[in-house]
């Protein structure tokens, strides 16, 4: 398809969910109600670490207005030493995270749940549940969890043959690291720390579940995957997937945090036991205490380079908090951190560390910002030592098509160099800075992903189009799918409706995560639409009584391919739809496949800060994000993704952190003391959309949602150094920390 001729791809069409959202009609997780509905509430652990000796729910059950009580004894039993893998999750952990079994492993860990007439009664009943605990010492920070005499969370997890809180490791190797460092003229090694940060979605977790007497279960909830909700609920409750229908609501933010379940299996058990529909809505405090943040970390990075600016070796060790159960995103840290560079000798190593914190959940490019933070800060120091411009230094070492990445693959066509060049030629690069202002640079990478996707494209009787896909739309996929479908069919985009199906109305589609949705669903929608076009040609061939091969589809109508084919007046989509019944029946096609061919994305960011050195406040005053976006199907949405990622990175860098008190409890479980940026904290964030299409995708899509959160942490740290000459090795760079360090 010639790019210049695109009518809809690359256009900022009106978003299909816009009117509903601005008028308050959109239904989010907490908006569904049913006759006879009752309310569920969760009893949570008051201790960070304890063995559950017994749970007595009798008094709660006897309270007036209580319908049912659930504990882990109502869940399917998954033995603790046998993995049950579902995607990147292990159901043994998921079940125990949803309702604690042998032990409570963090303050706020769910132990039991009650369904009652009102939320107040359910809450009161929770207080009546008697739990007998054997309280243990706990470990919150990585150092406390990995020291020799640390309290052990899971006895059967062994490291070096001994019970340990190190639940796993991951390693990438290339070349010979010792030789590489020997070749270096300069070597810099530094240690870094980052705090656990929450995704900060505005919509708290919520669901409504109705289980009929025959176990047929309907779940309304907001998540990043209705099929994930169905599967996890099925595993944990034992109800077969065929009996569960999960209906996705509009989602008020997820950023990875809604790729697992917290409430749905619990509400299912409560509904099954009570015979009533059960609704559950978390408070913000519950979200902060018990839903996934992403890992806090400790890392060490060493980089060596020649005086000519060529990197000879790089080494990184990353310890990431997993929270209560194994599964820290070490792959993102150890796998992405060196991906932008062509480095002959490299070694990265990640440790998955459990401790008495809430279980981490995915957060935008999980682990990658942590790895990039350490690497990109050290690169800044190396560039400074070599007296090179940080961007030129990166350009000199940039990975290109054909480079063998440290994490394994040999790159196909990719646009990292283009992001560097775009920054070098952007006015921001040369803009003057005032006193106490500084500029920092950093790059980043994310894998992106393919995976299972299903679509159905139906032509309505009046000749319009309904497209159904199976991935919750959290970043604009409906608008982009509408653009693509309208382009392929050659019709006005307003004639295309895009819907997200539920688990009963569309084929299996993997969850919305890994920046995969548009890549994958565009593939199946394209295939489905092409099949529809084929059917339309077939119908025209019947009407004209000529060969289907002699018909072409253009501009929304079937036409004879040439003069040889005969002279017929073109048949529009509307005309063909009108004649659908006599020519063969309904017109529609679906496609389902495990999509392959996803390619990674790269970004380079420029950040300006100004530091108030008397108060220790660093403010971001200008920001430019350049990213290889493959092809921007809906540019405004792509820009929004880049800007959103940067904003979350700014929060992570400057103020956000999980703060634990001496009792092992989270001390800031709300938006007053857990500080995500507010609008007035932010400058306008400029974006440069570099388009190097993915050759393995019909529209060139790469995936754009995660890369933009990778560079900001280090871009900001590097900018602060440029402004005041002090390097920070620990996030967040909050005012007290900054002032303390600069007044030393």
């Amino acid at each position: 398809m010639n790019e210049m001729d695109n009518k809809w791809i690359g256009k900022n069409t009106i978003r299909p969910d816009g009117a509903d959202k601005v008028t308050g009609r959109a239904e989010y997780g907490a908006d569904t109600i049913m006759p006879g509905m009752i309310w569920g509430k969760v009893l949570r652990s008051p201790y960070p670490h304890a063995t559950i000796k017994s749970i007595n729910t009798k008094k709660a059950e006897e309270l007036d207005g209580v319908f049912s009580v659930a504990t882990s004894s109502d869940c399917v039993d998954f033995p603790v030493d046998t993995p049950v893998i579902l995607g990147i999750q292990d159901i043994r952990w998921m079940a125990r995270n949803v309702l604690a079994k042998e032990k409570v492993l963090f303050h706020g860990h769910p132990i039991a749940a009650v369904a009652a007439m009102t939320e107040e009664i359910a809450e009161k009943a929770c207080e009546l549940i008697e739990v007998d605990y054997d309280v243990h010492p706990w470990a919150i920070e990585i150092d406390d969890a990995i020291k020799p005499d640390a309290p052990i969370l899971h006895d059967f997890i062994k490291f070096d043959g001994k019970p340990s809180n190190i639940a796993g490791t991951l390693e990438h190797k290339k070349g010979n690291i010792e030789e590489g460092f020997k070749d270096a003229d300069i070597i810099i090694e530094k240690e870094f720390e980052t705090a656990a940060v929450h995704q900060g979605y505005l919509e708290t977790h919520a669901c409504l579940v109705s289980v009929s007497p025959d176990d047929r279960t309907t779940i309304w909830s907001s998540s990043q995957g209705q099929f994930m909700v169905r599967a996890m609920t099925s595993f944990i409750t034992g109800i077969p997937q065929s009996s569960i229908r999960a209906i996705p609501a509009e989602i008020g933010g997820g950023f990875g945090g809604k790729t697992i379940v917290y409430l749905e299996p619990v509400a299912t058990i409560l509904s099954k036991k009570s015979g009533r529909p059960v609704k559950m809505v978390m408070t913000r405090e519950e979200v902060m205490r018990a839903s996934g943040p992403t890992s806090g970390s400790k890392s060490k990075v060493k980089i060596g380079a020649k005086n000519n600016g060529k990197i000879t070796a790089a080494q990184g060790t990353f310890y990431l908090q997993a929270g209560a159960f194994p599964g820290a995103p070490i792959r993102g840290a150890a796998g992405c951190c060196l991906a932008p560079y062509d480095i002959p000798n490299a070694h990265t190593f990640g440790y998955d560390v459990v401790s008495n914190r809430s279980k981490v959940a995915a957060y935008r490019a999980p682990g990658a910002p942590i790895g990039a933070y350490a690497v990109e800060c050290v690169l800044d120091e190396v560039a400074e030592a070599l007296n090179m411009c940080p961007l030129e230094f990166r350009l000199k070492n940039a990975a290109k098509e054909g480079t063998k990445a440290v994490h394994g693959p040999t790159y196909p066509v990719m646009g990292y160099v283009e992001t560097l060049e775009a920054c070098l030629s952007h006015p921001h690069y040369k803009a003057p800075l005032k006193k106490l202002q500084g500029r920092g640079y950093a790059s980043g990478f994310w894998f992106n992903a393919g995976g299972e996707s299903s679509a159905q494209v139906n032509i309505t009787e009046d000749g319009n189009v309904v497209v159904t896909t199976g991935h919750p739309d959290i970043g604009g996929s409906r608008a982009s799918i509408a653009n693509i479908t309208a382009e392929l069919l050659g019709i006005d985009v307003n004639r295309v409706s895009v819907l997200i199906g539920d688990t009963a109305t569309i084929g299996f589609s993997n969850l919305t995560g890994g920046s995969r949705v548009l890549f994958a669903s565009a593939l199946v929608v394209t295939e489905s639409t092409n099949q529809v076009i084929d059917i339309l040609k077939d119908r025209a061939s019947k009407i004209w009584n000529i060969d289907k091969e002699a018909i072409e589809w253009e501009n929304g109508e079937a036409r004879p391919a040439g003069d040889n084919a005969g002279k017929f007046k073109p048949l529009t989509l509307v005309e063909l739809a009108e004649q659908a019944t006599p020519t063969g029946g309904p017109i529609g096609a679906g496609h389902q496949v495990n999509t392959v061919g996803a390619e990674g994305g790269f970004a380079t960011h420029i950040c300006d800060v100004e530091v108030d050195i008397e108060l220790g406040i660093a403010r971001v005053i200008r920001y430019t994000a350049a990213q290889d976006v493959g092809k921007a199907i809906h540019p405004a949405y792509v820009e929004g993704q880049l800007q959103g990622g940067v904003v979350q990175g700014i929060g992570w860098a400057l103020n956000e952190e999980y703060i634990y008190n001496k009792d092992g409890k989270l001390d800031n479980p709300g938006f007053l003391d857990y500080r995500i940026p507010v609008c007035s904290d932010l400058p306008m964030i400029d974006t440069i959309l570099v388009e190097v299409p993915n050759p393995q995708h019909p529209q060139g899509v790469r995936g754009v949602g995660e890369v933009p959160i990778v560079p900001p942490l280090s871009a900001i740290a590097n900018a602060i150094y440029d402004a005041i000459g002090t390097r920070f090795y620990s996030l967040p760079m909050s005012p007290p920390k900054v002032l303390e360090k600069i007044s030393d």
């Binding site: 220790g616 406040i617 001390d667 800031n668 940026p677 507010v678 007035s680 005012p735 007290p736 007044s743």
Partner: protein, 290 residues
């Protein structure tokens, strides 16, 4: 929550009558804007059985100006006071402190009385009220009395109000010629945040000399403080470096903060000096304009 009795009396007497007959300590609550109270009820910190809305009581909603002396009703919302143009010319520091509270939505409700009675050590308007020299009029079962703002609080969340007493209004002294006040706070974000340190300064200048000064700090001690040593250091000076430094050190010395998630002791101490100097500069600038 469903069993809460809600009343909305028209007179102070009625309100005081119900308030003084509260079943138990804390069970009857006064509601002004509700921007503190409703949050506390929803989070379970406060569980009242009776709520008295005071927004229908005339005295509490009144703004009057008696020959340059302002009286501001305790329940007047920030956005309403903003519209009283001349108040802001007289007491820009008090107004800016009140206007810092929350967002535009919160400003439609939040009052000086609520901010004072909530008794958070970090309440933004309190240091500015102290620096202004305003007094507060309270009405209770035993009648009326006036209190200086600086002696209103007894600790975090605690006031010296007696059983059944309601704050009626704030009485501001007549603004002196060539005086000016200012309030600044340190927050990690730019808005929607809670003061880590707040500082208000009110100075009067005659022939380049400081003839009167009041300095107050918030969020650095169990309650907002009037820093008398800072006033002493400034009065009689020409705001020369030594005097300002001495006053700043007095601020630092007055701090009796805690280490918490919002800031360390050493951070709060350092910042109190910085904010004092910046607020002083602003107050001087305003004083010089009249």
């Amino acid at each position: 929550m469903s069993d809460v009795k809600f009343i909305s009396p028209d007179t102070l007497e009625q309100a005081v009558d119900v308030y003084s007959k509260s079943s138990k300590e804390g069970k009857t609550k006064i509601l002004a804007g509700g921007t503190d109270l409703l949050v506390q009820i929803r989070s379970g910190i406060s569980q009242p059985d009776t709520i008295i809305d005071i927004k229908n009581i005339k005295e509490l909603k009144e703004i009057s100006n008696d020959n340059g002396s302002y009286t501001i009703g305790a329940a007047v919302a920030g956005a309403v006071l903003e519209e009283e143009k001349n108040f802001g010319n007289n007491w820009p520091g008090v107004l800016e402190a009140l206007r810092l509270i929350g967002s535009e939505q919160i400003q439609g409700r939040a009052s000086l009385g609520g901010n004072l009675c909530n008794a958070s050590p970090a309440g933004d308007s309190v240091p500015a009220l102290i620096a202004s020299g305003a007094t507060v009029k309270v009405h209770g079962p035993e009648g009326e009395r006036d209190m200086p703002i600086e002696s209103f609080h007894s600790g975090p969340g605690k006031t010296n109000l007696k059983n059944g007493e309601i704050v009626v209004n704030f009485q501001f002294p007549k603004k002196q010629k060539n005086s000016g006040d200012a309030y600044l706070r340190m927050i990690p974000r730019t808005e929607m945040d809670i003061a880590v340190v707040g500082c208000a300064v009110n100075v009067t200048i005659e022939n380049d000399k400081c003839v009167d000064a009041r300095v107050a700090l918030g969020a650095v001690a169990p309650k907002a403080l009037l820093v008398e040593d800072a006033s002493k250091a400034l009065i009689g000076s020409n705001f020369e470096k030594e005097a300002v430094e001495k006053a700043a050190l007095a601020c630092e010395a007055a701090c009796n903060p805690i280490d918490d998630k919002r800031g360390t002791i050493s951070y709060r101490k350092k910042v109190s000096k910085v904010l004092f100097k910046r607020a002083l500069e602003k107050a001087i600038e305003r004083a010089k304009k009249g």
